[in-house]
Structures are given as structure tokens and as C-alpha cells.
Symmetry: D2
Subunit: 335 residues, 4 copies
């Protein structure tokens, strides 16, 4: 099956390479990016991709292309979903679909109406460590879920210029954790309550955002979730989850580049976690693409649906409102 | 120096034994408990304690006794502090001093007026694992504190009859974690926000309490704290803390009875954490008593002061109010 | 640079795929195997390899092919090295070169005379965990090396038919560990002393081999090495090393498929190590091929030389002699 | 039951204190040491021990004393066992009984003839971590034992003056590990093969000993044991065992003073193991004394018998012979 990619930034290139190497069901025919430059073009040609363009329409209108990966900037996601759906193409769209809930709904509706698959790029669902905890929960090992705890900390804050247009920490960063919370819980959140502070860089505060945030979630069953985010962990990209239930607790640790340990006079030292997202979630990016290819080629529901794209946005909007208003916010208030 | 103990329940006996074995500066002369029975009497005599009584006044009025340990039920703590202070005796009092904030204040004032030492029984401050994290924080290794996370889960809920008179999960159970949060942070909390659910036993809900609770704390510096409590962890007594700061994160794991690991066909298996509090905090009970003896004999401020007894009660009251009213509560509202 | 592969069994196919995916400097032009079958042919064609043959000469005589990978059965290694050298081709040869020491020497000499690179397939040197210990040793962190311990256990014994022609556990299995010991120590072994038993399967004993073996090594500096091998570890493919020196100890643990841990009533359970070699050393196979491509294209000494192929064979022969004769054997005796 | 102690050095004092604190069945009536000094006398009186003497006969001849702990220098052990047995007293004797095998046999025979209990001070059998591995082996979890690995490394070598009279590393240090090997295996050793080097301090070599030693053991069943010893591990007192069998492997890690971990920019750092034997085996010393008291008071075979004292000496003598003669030595040769 032939596929096309819209957006050739970092994530677009990662998907292109992963498909070329690990997803035999898909063949990238075209990649379009208005800012296409020589380096990117040469990289993509090296993968054997024939059509390199600056115009997304070269992807969207190509009748041979059956699936489109939307890897462009967030503000264009909803439009491209709607366009791709109109062309009858299956869609993989990076997260978040949009910060505007009605736009997200429109995009989902467009895909549904067109009868095309729509998968959202919540790659962490495909991570081996998070998946192992998920499997323990789903298999019943953990029993009834009582608590979900997620720590998610970046090694470095993004540039302040990016912070200003990012939609804020809840939409930009914690959205992954909102998805993870739903994924692990297997149920929906009713209420969110947020705390946030500017502790890493005052410039982030001046840009109207916080850099350290904690959100508590109340699920329909009464289970409680806790997410903490920090824009800066000097020791690397820290990603851990824990699910505590009536029969036990499932939790994971960070991956490390190796398992070597040094017993020295000053203590016992082992490797830090990975420093960057791309190293940490290498396998997850491959797996999500394989899952998309499988869903499309076997005509199944994708493992991360349009609705799965909507709910985390609702949670992010509610969290931002909670932080702003200093009170818990019910999801129904923002739906 | 001669000491007396009021209250010969579980904790009173633990202190009596620890003093006999590990605290040479103190000599228990008398133990009083209105419900003194033969078994307890024989246990205490076995430790070489000469005076066993049903009347606390036998401790309080003995002019030889310079220090009193108050190990009776919570509702009597404040009274006994006031009485012991009036008799000019140094005081170690189990936590919490009282659920009524004005009573706590009175008790503290009485000790101050009398010029006697008052130490509150927050034993976890003396635990080797929590202390090791604390030391990393205080030494500056962690840098500026951004997040504090505390998990504290009991192996079994107490009887519902106890739940009814316990003062609720925040006063009875999370109070230790409120103290730990202040201890680790080295600063005061301004705001608390609570979530709670009945997930372990509906009878706890019928008794007007929750059995699963999460509280987020906003410290004066903007640092954020998260505490989760559950009345029932099937795998034992789960006690972990984490402090995340500008230079790194310090966290600890549960103690286990041994370090043995089994590599088997079904996976890698190691020992659970301890099943009961007394095994987990064995060393902490000894250390807190040694610290009390040292503070008194060297005429120093005790390591856990009366004010340290007050603040966690304020936090517990605020947390209960937050849960009841569904909104964050500022500590100033309940002070 | 164009390369050819002789031998299209499991390891030949792994190298072919890894080169296609991860080693852009090399392009496989031809693969030859006398037992080439349809499945293998279709797999190789899927990688875009143009020439598929049953005759090694189609690789050896192709003037375009500059590098040859010898992945055929051990008894053919020396011959193919000599042939490839005669054709002026750079050589990557799977371990061991041969069980006959004089044949190994001939092969090495042939490569030297022809001025071609010769790299031996001791892939474990490229493993991230072993490499991390190696780096700690080489950086001086461990100080002067006193002890080296290597555990290497297979999940399942090979078929007895294979055991009979395998050259014995020392040549077939422990040879990797002999190489690892030299690699970690950075010096040569003077004496080996072997113990062996048949504890896994009596049929292995009937075939004249042992299935459980321990060899101690005396290095020139006086440092002591210990290797243990078992043909069957029910929990998977167990591969650990430890280097103890004057400044500390460096050791590693097995990789696991994930980091998830379950706290249950029965204990704390985490994932077993990998079950099969190919999963455990996935990255090592890639890295050794990249290292070979780099050595050839940059005209450098390969990281595992012909001599590195010789010494482990000497050690294996000495170990077998030690076991047979029930006494320590000096390497000089078998050289 | 009243007990006496002969020898008031470090270990004698540890036993005295542990009995006073944790072994209610025993009451120390007398302690004798020819070098008794004021500090020791005052320490012992502080434990409430009435008779402090310079003459062992004050212990041996006291008719009230039913059990004697021999904590004097090794060269006096056998004599005191024989004397104590002659007086009909139960005996706990520190390891090793003697370096002279016939003297060990005499001592054992004397106890047997007199019908008194004789327990040897192999305290590590009572350590929680080693015991946990032992329990896994005995319960059948590990299956048939194939390999036993023991690492035992001291933080600092003893003074050379001590090395000279110590009997050598095998009798002085590895003797504990010989006992542990038998304990874990549950069977006897047939053959030992030793390697040794002087890598820590040349003065140890000049004193005729080695400071780094590896011994391989062949058990009757064919199982193989490996012990490594070093006189100096800069990171502390390193004590680990591993038993590998047909159903899995049981292994343990060192205890650490706490479980705290620091995630820093330089890596992940946790506490070293304990620095000194007394901290590492605190609990084991208590447990062995409780076991001795129980064996005597319940008239049972002690958990470490005189024969358990003999076999490790045989192994040590064989190991020394193996090192000297550069060949494996059968235990029968030295028995």
C-alpha cells in the first residue's frame, strides 16, 4: 500500500525511516513540506521515496496514495485530516489533533463520514515498558485499579518562543500523560485538578505558562490519577508509570543505555536514563507505525482512535482551566 | 535520667523495650495505663521497670522522673502534655497531639511556658531510607526542590470501629506524610487540595471516611507535593518518597526482609516489602528515642518540636475540608 | 563498497539484513550457500541482493566484491579465509576460525600476506552492556584488574547430533567467554584450569562432552578469571560479566524485554532475561558489522583481529586438555 | 541457663552484648580473658555480668555455668573445647576450631564423648540474605544444584603481622566460604583447585600468603563451586552468593545502609554495601546465638556441628596444598 507524508520535520523523517526499514506493508510514495530543504530531500531520496514536494496537495491528490501521515504543525492537523478524509485516504495524525475541541470533533467526524481509518500519534502506548504495565493491568493481575501515577519530565525546556505557541504545558506536554492515564485506567476521567508553578525558568512564566505541573484526576470508578510534569530534569528524560490496585501494583523504571553498575568507594553508580525522547521511544515509534499499517491493511479499528485524540485535549483544557481558576474542573464543563 | 511512660499499648511497650535495650541515658522507672493487664505488667517487669500502675499520676507526680512519654490514646495527649509540663517534666508525645488545633496550641504553649522539651513522635523522620533522601536534599545534592512525592500504603485497613473514631484518613494516616512532606521540603505548605474515594471497603465509606486519598500540596516556594494513601496494599507496607529538584532526584525504595532474587522460568522474583509497620520502622523507633534522650540530656531543641506537631494537623484539617468542599483550601483558612 | 556473503544460515541472514538496514557503507551484491533454498532466496531478494548462488566462487571471483563475510560451517572457515585473501578481499569471519590451531595460523597468515583486513565475529565485544563494563575498565575506573568473572548460560542445549560435531563446550560455547575475558582484561592468559560435569543431559556426556563447565584463568599480571557455562538455564540466556579491581568493581546485569515490576502478595516480580541469543545481542550484531565496514572503508585495523581469533582457540584447546588430564594447563603447552 | 565466655576480644564482646539483649534463655555469669583490661571490664559489667576474670578456669570450673562460648585465639580453641567438654559444658566455639585436622577431630571427639552440644561459629549461615538463598535451594525452587558461586571480599587487608599467624587466606578468610558452599550445596566436596595471586599488597606475598584467591570445588554430585576472595575491596564488605540449578538461579545482593537512590546528571547513584563485617552481619550474630541457646535448651543438634567445623578446615588445607603444588587436590588426600 502506498502512503504519503505531510510534514518533513523531525517526526516526519522518523516515520519515513521507520516505514522504510520496519513496515513492509507500507511504501512511502511522496513527502510534502512547504519548507522542504536540500538536506531533507536528500535524506528522503536516500530512503527511496520518489516524490518530494513542497505542496501537500501532491500527497493528498495522488490517487495511488491510500494512507496519509500528518506530521505538520499542530494548527494544520485538523484541516489536513478533513482534506485527507475528503480524498478517501486513511490517516495517521500526530498529537494533538488541535487545541480547539470543536475542531477536533470536526476532524473526527470528517474521518468517520468518509469511512477512513484515523489513528492519533500517542506513541507511548506502544512503548515496551508502559505496555508491560498496561498488560499487567488488563490481564487482571493488578485487580481493580485504585491509583495511577505518572511521572513525565523532560531533560530541557523548549525555547521560550516555542512555549508561547505551544498551547501550554497541558496541551503540549502533559497531553501524552492524559492519554497514558486513560490508556492504563481503561476508563474516563470525570474531574481534573491542577497545580502549577514556574520553578525552572522565569521566562516560561512570563510567556504565560508554568514549567512544573501536577494534575490529579478523578476517574468515573473513583480511581485517582496523579500526573507530574517538569520541563527540566538534569538526569534525562524521565518516564515512569505506576498502577496500584486491589491485587498489587505494576510499575516501571526508565530504560537505560546499559545495565552496567560500578561499585566504587563513593557509592554504587549506574547509567542515567536516556537523555532524549528519540532514544527512549525508538521502539515505540516503530510499533505505532506497524500498528497503523496493520489496522489499515486488515481493515480494523486503529489502536488509538480519533476519540482517543479528543479526550486528552478535553483533559488538557480542563487542567488549564483548573489552574487558572484555582478549583477542580469537571470534564463536562469543557466538553 | 529517670523516665516514665503513660500508656502501655503497643507503642508504649515498643518504646519501653527500645529504651531498655538501646537508650542507656534513660531509665524507665514507671509505666501507667488504666487498662494495665497481667501480660503487660509481666512484660514491663521483665524489662526491669519497678513501678507499674493504673494511674498516670504515679508517673506525673514522681519527683525522680524527669521525662514522660505520652503513649495513651490521642484524645488524652493534650491533657497529659499540659499536666506533665506543669510538673516540669520533659515530654515525648505520640502523634498527633490532638485533632483540635486550639488544643494543640495550648499544649505547645504549656510546654513552652514550663520550659520543658516537647518532642512529637513522627518516627519516620528517623527512618534510614527517608533520612537518606532528606540528607541528599539538605546537602544541596537535589538543588532547589520542585516536586515531592510520597506514597504511603497500609497492608490492611484498621477495623471500621477504629475508623469511626480515628479522625479520618488525613488525621490518622496521612498525618505522617504531611510531616514527611514538610520535613523533606524544609518549608511550609500554603495550600492543600484533596481527592478521596472509597475503593477498598464500603464500610469505611459508611463510617464517613475514605480509604484511598490523594493530596496535592503547594509550598510557599511554589514547589508542589503529592501524597497518596491507600488503606490496603496486598503486597505489604509501602513507604516511598521522592524529591525532585533542579540538580536531580532523590528517591528511595521499600526495605525488604532480604536481597535474594530468584531467576525462574516465570520471571525474576524478589522479596516483598515488609508486611507490618513494626518491622519496617524498627530502627526508626529506636533512633527517635535516642534523639529524645539526647535532646533532653544535652538541653537541645528536640528534632521534632511541638510546632512540628501542629502543622501536620493543620494540613490534615485543611485536607479534610478540601475533600468535603471539593476545592483547594489555604492553610490560613484553618489556622 | 560491494560485499558478498558465503553461508546463508541463520547468522548469514542476520548479517545480510543488518547490512541492508544499518550499514550504508556496504552493499551486498552476492550471497552463496550450497544448500540455498527457495525461502532463503526469497528473503535475500527481498533485501535487494541481486546475486543468489549455490557456489561460493560466485562471491570469491566477483571482481566488484571487495569484502567477504564467511558465515559457513566452522570446518570451511580457514579455507574460505585463504581463498578470499588470495582474491584480495577483506574478510569478516564467524568464530571460531577453526579448532585446529595450525589451520587458524595459516588463515591469519594468508590474510596478512594478502594485505586484507580480517575481522573475527566475536559479537559480544559490541554488546552495550559488556562494552559499558569494558569502558569502565579501560578508563581506569576499576583500577588494576584483579578478578574477572563471566557467567554465560544458554537457555537450551543444542541437539546431541550437533554436540558431537561442535568441538566440545570449550570450542563451541565458552570460546566467546575466552574472548570476553581477554577483551576485558586487556592482557593474555597464561594458564587455564577446567572443571566440567554432565548435569543437564546424560546424552551430552555419552557424546563425549560436558554440559556444565567452569574454567579458571591465570593472566600474566596474576589477575584471575572465572568463567562458568551451562547448556541450560530455564530462565533464559544469561550473560553477565564482572571486573573487580583496585578501585572498584564493574558488573552488568542481563537485559530484559521491559522494566516493569509487579508488587504482588507473593513477592516482587520482574521480567526474565531474554530467551534467545538473537534478541539479546541484536544490537551487537549490528555494531560489529558497522565496525567491520568502518575498518575496511577507513583502512584501519579491525577491532577483532585474526590474533583475537587465535587466542580463544588456544584457551579452548588448553581447557579441554585440562579437563581431560585433571590438571592446570599452560597456554604455552598448546601453542 | 547460665553461660560463660572465654575471650573478651571483639567477637566475645559482641556475643556478650547480643546475649544480654536478645537471648533471654542465656544469662552470662562469667567472662574470662588473660588480657582483660579496664575498658572491657566496665563494658561487661555494664551488661550486668557478675564475674570478670583473667582465668578461663573461672568459667570452666563454675558448676552453675552450663554453656561456654569460646572466643579466644584460634590456637586455644581445641584445648578449651576439650576442657569444657571434660567439665560437661555445652560449647559454642568460634571458627575455625584449629588448622590442624587431627586437633579438630580430637576436639569433636571430646564433645561427643562428653555428650555435650558443640556449635561452631559459622555466623553467615544465619544471615538473612544467605539464608534466603539457602531456603530457595532447600525448598526445591532451584532444582538440582549445578553451580554455586560465592564472592567474598574484605574492605581492607589485616595487618601483615596478623597475616603471618593467620594460617593463610584459605584458613583465615575463605573458610567461611567453604562452609557456605557446603551449606548451600547440601553435600560434600570431593576436589578443590586453587589459584592465588598477590595483587593487593606485596607484603602479604612476602609473608608467604596470597591476597586474591579463587577456588573451584567439585561436589560429589558433579556440581561445581566457585569461590573468589580478595583482601581489599574499596567499596566495602562484598558478600554475595548464587546457586544455579535445573529450575532456576537464586542469588543475593549486598545489604546497603539505605535504599535511597540519586538520579543525577552524572548517573544514578545508590549506597555502597556496608564497610565492615560487624554492620553487615549484625543480625547473623544474634541469630546464631539464639540458635545455640535453642539447641542447648531444647536438647537438639546444633545447626552447625563439630563436623561442620571440620570439613571447611579440610577444604582449606586442600586448597593451600592445591595452590602450593599447582594441581587439583582431592579432599581424601588431606583427610
Amino acid at each position: 500500500m502506498k502512503a504519503g507524508i505531510i510534514g518533513a520535520g523531525r517526526i516526519g523523517k522518523v516515520h519515513a525511516k521507520n516505514i522504510a526499514m520496519f513496515v513492509p506493508e507500507l511504501e512511502i510514495k511522496a513527502v510534502a513540506d512547504p519548507f522542504m530543504n536540500e538536506g531533507t530531500e536528500s535524506f528522503l531520496k536516500g530512503l527511496g521515496i520518489p516524490v518530494i514536494s513542497k505542496d501537500a496537495e501532491d500527497v493528498l491528490k495522488d490517487p495511488e496514495i491510500e494512507a496519509v501521515l500528518i506530521c505538520s504543525s499542530t494548527d494544520t492537523h485538523a484541516d489536513f485530516i478533513i482534506r485527507a478524509a475528503a480524498e478517501g485516504k486513511h490517516i495517521f495524525c500526530e498529537k494533538p489533533v488541535d487545541y480547539d475541541i470543536s475542531r477536533v470533533r470536526e476532524a473526527i467526524a470528517a474521518a468517520k463520514t468518509a469511512g477512513v481509518k484515523l489513528q492519533i500519534g500517542f506513541c507511548r502506548r506502544f512503548d515496551h515498558n508502559h505496555r508491560a504495565v498496561y498488560d499487567m493491568v488488563r490481564s487482571g493481575k493488578v485487580g481493580k485499579v485504585n491509583l495511577i501515577k505518572i511521572s513525565s519530565r523532560d531533560p530541557e525546556p523548549p525555547p521560550v518562543s516555542y512555549v508561547k505557541v505551544s498551547g501550554g504545558i497541558f496541551c503540549d506536554m502533559m497531553i501524552h500523560d492524559f492519554d497514558m492515564a486513560r490508556f492504563l485506567a481503561g476508563e474516563e476521567v470525570e474531574e481534573v485538578s491542577a497545580m502549577g508553578s514556574v520553578l525552572v525558568d522565569p521566562a516560561i512564566g512570563e510567556a504565560g505558562d508554568v514549567d512544573t505541573a501536577v494534575v490529579t484526576l478523578k476517574f468515573k470508578s473513583g480511581a485517582i490519577g496523579i500526573i507530574d510534569n517538569s520541563r527540566k530534569a538534569v538526569y534525562g528524560y524521565d518516564q515512569r508509570v505506576e498502577v496500584f490496585g486491589s491485587r498489587g501494583a505494576a510499575l516501571n523504571a526508565n530504560d537505560t543505555p546499559n545495565t552496567a553498575v560500578f561499585y566504587g568507594a563513593e557509592g554504587t553508580v549506574s547509567s542515567s536514563c536516556y537523555q532524549v525522547m528519540w532514544d527512549r521511544y525508538t521502539g515505540a515509534f516503530v510499533s505505532e507505525m506497524q500498528a497503523f499499517a496493520q489496522a489499515v491493511s486488515e481493515n480494523q479499528e486503529p489502536p488509538v482512535t480519533g476519540e482517543d485524540g479528543l479526550y486528552p485535549v478535553l483533559m488538557a483544557v480542563a487542567a488549564a482551566k483548573s489552574l487558572r481558576e484555582g478549583r477542580p474542573v469537571n470534564i463536562a464543563e469543557v466538553s
